[in-house]
Symmetry: C2
Subunit: 259 residues, 2 copies
């Protein structure tokens, strides 16, 4: 994925047989802008734009060809395959998360880092399917991991205990964020599902499920279900902080418990 040192300005030649659409956003005498030669960066940015607009399945090499104005082989000369392109897009998104300064107390820093990560993933839900079907070893992920591990070190953890805490923390932050934001559903599907859920809850045996019925409004309006209506209502804003508090408390007051 090295970026070639090619910087050129020759325009791509076009056949005369096809009539291009007339541009009205520039004077009639304007020549088409010379296309900058293909660089990996441009490919990744274009891919990001497509994924951002329409989700993972909206990215096709064929569309990239059209957007970039090049053939498929020109793309494959830089990126290997579509999966690696998706990983590059994810790296781009994660590189935008801001790290807390090293001088900050560990618990403030962990709060800030968690919220930054949560925010980045919330802004870019389209990369979630990539996060959980690819192993990511990129500059952006390594940078985030090292930052988090240093924070845990400042909290006094080390060795395997640090490993468990790190995994528990990243599992929660990434996992919750991924689970929280689902791609938008078609409206009619959404309504049908909502009716199904309401009917399900209304048909429950009041003796067997008193708590579900007692907290009916909260259950139907704000909880994930097992993802069952995240796409409809989303989670309560406070839920992410609820679990994060649990994790950070456990780091502060550590030692085996609960089991």
């Amino acid at each position: 994925m090295a970026v070639g040192p090619d910087e050129d300005t020759r325009a791509r030649s076009g056949g005369d047989e096809v009539e291009a659409p007339v541009r009205t956003d520039a004077p009639w005498f304007a020549r088409p802008e010379p296309k900058p030669l293909l660089r990996t960066e441009r490919i990744v940015e274009a891919a990001h734009a497509l994924v951002h607009a329409g989700g993972r399945d909206a990215l096709s090499i064929r569309d990239l060809e059209r957007v970039l104005g090049v053939g498929a082989s020109a793309i494959y000369r830089r990126v290997g395959n579509k999966d690696q392109l998706l990983i590059a897009v994810t790296d781009l998104v994660l590189s935008q998360a801001e790290l807390p300064p090293q001088t900050m107390p560990w618990n403030d820093a962990l709060w800030q880092l968690s919220l930054a990560l949560h925010h980045a993933l919330k802004e870019h839900p389209h990369v979630h399917p990539i996060l959980d079907s690819h192993v990511l070893a990129t500059p952006a992920t390594a940078r985030l991991a090292c930052c988090a591990i240093e924070i845990l070190g400042r909290a006094g953890l080390k060795g395997d205990e640090l490993g468990d805490a790190y995994n528990g923390w990243i599992g929660y932050v990434l996992g919750f964020s991924i689970i929280e934001n689902l791609p938008a559903q078609p409206v009619d599907e959404r309504d049908e599902m909502r009716r199904w859920i309401h009917a399900y809850v209304d048909r429950l045996d009041a003796d067997a499920f008193p708590s579900v019925l007692a907290s009916r409004a909260s259950v139907l309006n704000t909880t994930f279900g097992l993802r069952w209506d995240a796409g409809i209502f989303g989670a309560r804003g406070g839920s992410f902080r609820w679990g994060l508090t649990a994790v950070i408390d456990r780091i502060a007051n550590r030692g085996p418990r609960a089991g």
Copy 2:
């Protein structure tokens, strides 16, 4: 997705032009077994088998045609589209998680339910991509959610507090489980990535990243990174329990904290 009441035994007729391969696992005089007519259940099971064997992308309608010995239209008459088929497969997997008895104390029950869910997802990593790209409202997910909410109710939670705790819990359990198990990687890619990670850590500034280097072995062998080597080493077995302890402790000693 209703199952048709069709039960019949007529064999599918085949043209005489194509010579079928000779079966040696049955006597020479054996006639081909009459194919049971297509039922939705059979489609879902066949789809499950394909997904289980080769992951999400290994399921194609074309393969299903071949496995089931029917045309595509026969399948589309029962399942609508491929996404719904994948949802049905996930429902099948989740329906196998065993629920704790209602008489069990809330914290034991929550441990047991969490581990059952974690186990089911660990056994069937192929459904993870489905879990985070589809809204699931199915009998199995509703059953699990209602069970968990009742447990939280027994712990004394209700209303929005119950909602937050439920979301935090399910976010952790599902999220961690999804993040933990990645599809296997090709060996050479794996080795290349491992070398990259080691080189990255070895090049770190010792003053800026003392904790990463002090816990080097643990960091390289057992932590998720940001998924960076989960596919290589997996998480420490204890990490799931570490975070679950955090969540359950928070439920037991509730009230706002940490922030």
